[in-house]
């Protein structure tokens, strides 16, 4: 059971966004040879190419799963931000969900832009942020997190 309705919604929206990101990651996975060419310059140890290739292949294979887990965790964390904003700003729960989603989009895309990362990576991260925003806003409307605690208390009184 989630700690609050906001965390629950954030976790679900993070799962939606993470699944999309994992799918895009696997669909646009670069060939291991291309990554090998890129990282060769950074490797100072004299390693056999086959071994390095095996390392990178495993890394690429788990990259989507790692992205999914990261977004799941971040989604839940941003759920706490949603709760904070909803209690402080005095706006509708959907509006604060959109602000929260935009905050995640900024966190995901700005570092990539600042470090001159690839355009594909920036667009993937922007899509993750957009999916999170849409899912969180939809959940805020369909399963309003403001009433979550009261629901639990009411059901515990019944039993």
């Amino acid at each position: 059971m989630a700690e609050s309705g906001y965390v629950r919604n954030g976790l679900i929206a993070g799962g939606v966004s993470g699944a999309l990101t994992a799918a895009i990651t696997y669909l646009t996975l670069p060939p291991v040879e291309a990554v090998l060419r890129e990282v060769k310059g950074f490797v100072s140890m004299p390693l056999p190419e086959e071994v390095l290739k095996a390392y990178l292949s495993i890394g690429l294979a788990v990259s989507g799963v790692i992205a999914f887990i990261l977004l799941l965790l971040l989604g839940a964390l941003l759920g706490l931000l949603h709760e904070f904003l909803d209690k402080r700003l005095g706006l509708s729960v959907v509006a604060t969900a959109v602000i929260t989603g935009l905050a995640l989009t900024a966190v995901l895309t700005l570092p990539n832009i600042a470090l001159h990362g690839s355009l594909l990576k920036t667009l993937t991260n922007a899509a993750s942020g957009a999916a999170y925003t849409a899912a969180l806003a939809a959940l805020a409307r369909l399963a309003n997190p403001r009433g979550y605690r009261e629901d639990i208390l009411r059901s515990s009184e019944v039993y």
Binding site: A54, Y55, L70, L73, L74, L80, P111, A114, L115
Partner: protein, 227 residues
């Protein structure tokens, strides 16, 4: 293969198992704060690299490598303790705070373990001694993160002095490691390794003792403000 599995177990036991056993003696394990700590680590992994890397060329160009190592250490110390402090505005319960810090450290330990697994599976060479030392480093680091979260959650000593103090201690630990790697051949010198990990242990153990005191006080008071 047997050595690799033994090292994997050592990494998991030292980075996750042993700190959890120590903490469990003082506070009941709590999953949500652990996950929140891991989520804070995920956020750190995204926002810390640009903060550290963006001014790299400017600092190294004007002042050299050592000031850049200092800057990177200060950035990580103040950022990580700041994120913990922000999360702890919700978790004022010192017992739960210990598990939040544990989640942060355990997340790091899991990443190190994952890196070792991929290295071993790919057939990349690894040094057994370095992995064992790395396992000890994860043990000390997980305990540090837990202790700092407990101290930050405490109502004693004032928020700003605690935040600045712990951030400086954290930065100093990172700075020492950076200097040991860059200037004192950390992975090639047993003396440097012993000096660095001895110093880190000497810093973490008193913090751990203070945090256990805070947790004991909290338990005695029995005033859980968190649901």
């Amino acid at each position: 293969m047997l050595i690799a599995i033994s090292l994997l177990i050592a990494l998991l036991v030292m980075g996750l198992g042993l700190p959890a056993l120590i903490l469990a003696r003082y506070s009941r394990p709590s999953l949500i704060p652990v996950l929140l700590g891991a989520a804070l680590l995920a956020l750190t992994l995204i926002i810390q690299p640009p903060i550290q890397r963006l001014p790299r060329d400017v600092i190294t160009g004007f002042a050299g490598q050592l000031p850049y190592i200092l800057y990177a250490a200060l950035a990580s110390g103040f950022l990580q303790e700041g994120l913990k402090l922000m999360a702890l505005t919700r978790y004022r319960d010192s017992l739960k705070a210990s598990w939040l810090g544990y989640g942060f450290g355990a997340g790091e330990a899991l990443l190190v373990t994952l890196n070792f697994v991929v290295t071993a599976l790919a057939g990349l060479p690894y040094n057994t001694v370095f992995v064992i030392v790395g396992a000890y480093e994860r043990f000390i680091t997980t305990l540090y993160h837990s202790a700092s979260a407990v101290i930050l959650s405490s109502s004693r000593w004032g928020t700003l002095p605690k935040y600045v103090g712990l951030s400086l201690i954290h930065s100093l630990m990172n700075f020492s490691a950076g200097v040991a790697i860059r200037y004192f051949n950390l992975f090639g010198s047993a003396i440097t390794m012993a000096a660095l990990y001895g110093a880190l242990t000497a810093v973490v153990l008193p913090l751990l003792a203070i945090s256990l005191g805070v947790m004991a006080d909290w338990r005695r008071a029995g005033t859980s403000v968190m649901g």
